[in-house]
């Protein structure tokens, strides 16, 4: 089995599905000849041609708006938004159109569009190359939101997204695009949407993370182990619908929870996880659920490493919940 990084895994998923299904097209800024600024689509233009790997004019509203029309007519578009930070010009097309099309038409018009976009900080990108906007889309009924943390999941989840019939926001962790490597099958396989994965077993505290923060959570669990603390790390993988059963099972076991995300804290997805857990498992909670998150500021440049959650901050939170 070949070793791939996340970029290569994404590319492999796209290539696999484009070979299997002629309706699949890729569109976006620089995705064609150039193969994308992160090279996730490189080679696809040569294999599938300009009609299936489409360099668009510079307009996210146009990329998503036309992708919607393509999906309505019968294609399977997989638009790329070059950075998650640039998805907002298309926000109306996504939340008012894409997400609502099936519902508002009484089921007449499904709209299977899979939007790929790199998210997260840690690349010295400042305000506009670092944001993690998942909460905005999880709050939008009609959308699914998927956020892999490693190459194997990236390919399996992306293939699963392209083979179901709902619109998806597929968020890729750009900081570890190349750093994260794993064995990934050449061929076809899918990972069921809505299923979390325990990436580290533990008994005393559950650390919940997704995307680029899974690695941080694992490092923190390692530090915790050195300190004799057994932390379980749960990688949510799909954020909408999220895996409530996996969460509750782990909480019933540990009774303590730490949630880690990059996005600003207030109204971030961590808040929903806390709400959902305490509604269902309050009796099992032995301490308040603690969040380790980005701060409620725009994403900074010079101080980004102060802004981003790190293993020490997660470890601090783990200790705090155990000492409560």
């Amino acid at each position: 089995m070949p070793t791939m990084n996340i970029i290569e895994a994404v590319r492999s998923a796209l290539q696999t599905q484009m070979r299997a299904d002629p309706r699949v097209v890729v569109l976006g800024e620089d995705v064609g000849k150039f193969g994308g600024v992160f090279r996730a689509t490189s080679g696809l233009y040569d294999e599938f041609g300009a009609d299936r790997v489409i360099d668009t004019p510079l307009a996210e509203a146009g990329i998503i708006g036309t992708a919607i029309g393509m999906a309505l007519y019968g294609l399977r578009p997989v638009p790329e938004i070059q950075f998650g930070d640039f998805i907002f010009p298309a926000f109306d097309q996504i939340v008012n159109e894409l997400a609502k099309f099936r519902y508002r038409s009484g089921g007449q018009y499904p709209c299977p569009v899979v939007i790929r976009t790199p998210v997260g900080g840690g690349i010295r990108g400042g305000h506009y190359h670092s944001q993690s906007p998942e909460a905005l889309f999880i709050h939008t009924p009609g959308l699914k939101v998927v956020a892999p943390s490693n190459p194997y999941d990236a390919k399996g989840l992306l293939l699963a997204c392209m083979r179901q019939n709902d619109p998806v926001l597929f968020m890729e962790p750009k900081r570890i695009y190349r750093a994260s490597k794993a064995d990934v099958p050449e061929g076809e396989y899918t990972i069921e949407l809505g299923k979390a994965q325990i990436v580290r077993d533990g008994t005393q505290v559950t650390v919940v993370a997704w995307s680029g923060m899974v690695e941080i959570a694992e490092k923190a669990a390692g530090l915790a182990a050195e300190a004799g603390i057994s932390a379980e790390v749960l990688d949510l993988r799909t954020l909408m619908p999220f895996d409530i059963d996996a969460l509750l099972t782990s909480v019933h076991k540990t009774g303590r929870v730490v949630i880690v995300h990059e996005a600003p804290r207030t109204c971030g997805f961590g808040a929903e996880l806390i709400a959902s857990i305490q509604e269902r498992a309050m009796a099992h909670l032995e301490a308040p659920i603690i969040r380790v998150t980005g701060f409620d500021t725009p994403f900074p440049y010079s101080l980004e490493h102060e802004y981003l959650p790190n293993p020490d901050r997660v470890l601090g939170a783990i200790r705090q919940t155990l000492e409560w």
Partner: protein, 381 residues
Amino acid sequence: MVAVPASEKDELRRVLDDDGTPLPGARIPSIPDAVLTRMYEVMALTRLFDDRMMRLQRQGRLGFYMKSIGEEASHFAAAPLRASDWVFPSYREQGAWFWRGYTVQQYVDQLFGNQDDPIKGRQMPVHGSASWLNLVSISSPVGTQIPQAVGAAFAARALGKDDVTMAFFGEGTSSTGEFHVGLNFAGVWKAPCVFVCRNNGWAISVPSSVQTAARTFAAKAIGYGMPGVRVDGNDVLAVWQVASDAIERARAGGGPTLIEALTYRVQGHSSSDDPSVYRDPDEPGVWQRKDPLNRLRGYLRHRGLWSERQDAELTERHDREITAALAAADDKPGPAVETLFDDVYDQLPWHLREQRAYLLAQRRAVDHHHPGRTAPATAKR
């Protein structure tokens, strides 16, 4: 003619004068008589339907309605389309819906949001969807349908079909970013797409002069490298010709066209609007003399294709049809409560299953303590 950007000469294309007599030297489009009379019948139905629905709304029996009185001819830009071609409407093209075969009953059921509403009572009146007629779901945010129509046109070509898509919108909508990105993509892609801008002079209370400083709305086509054509939007023959040329050009691979149909919003923006607050009450009068229905009737008479008697019969038939549809719609309950959670996704995810169970249980509990207190699950008007 569409090959040359008409917008650069700003010529207004006309065939009929204000009473429906062909203008000297005008080229009469070759439209079969049956098509001509059917256009008239549909236009007359649209006019009567608007009128009846408005009265219903005034009686408090309908929540909301949007009339197109005086603009109906512009709807027939869709008439030269094939059934397999797709229309991306805005909310003011009733004529295009009836032309394509959407029934009065379906329209009324949607207005009432009852159990037979083709969209299951999901959207407010006038915001319909009819996939079996390739009439794509209407949404309120204006302009969003424009890039969507371009994407569908791209898809048709990519899938080897020679279908054309047509997007309708008002002149106010040309100010949105969606208009720009849609037409710009269409120009670059040479998409088989026709854009019909109904310039009815007003965007709610805002006159078209506040929407743009451009000479005409058709002139905006120049910025997208496509032909722009300006047509008398109350002259159905001219509309038909201009649209048919643009459609065939698109189908033949010639790329998109922007059509500006010059017309006028004779009445309020919607049933919630009162134009007397913001415009000269005499303004509409000028336009009533150009009324598209009278002009077409005049032309049919002049061609000996239509008579007083036929007109009376037609009105009576339409009136009966509408009355029957309203009566039927009135008796229909609204959608069942549990349908609230359908069609959000392909399959019902756990959280919606949970929320549905909660709602049904909660209503049972309330009904148990206070019989009949939960709102009846019927369309409320």
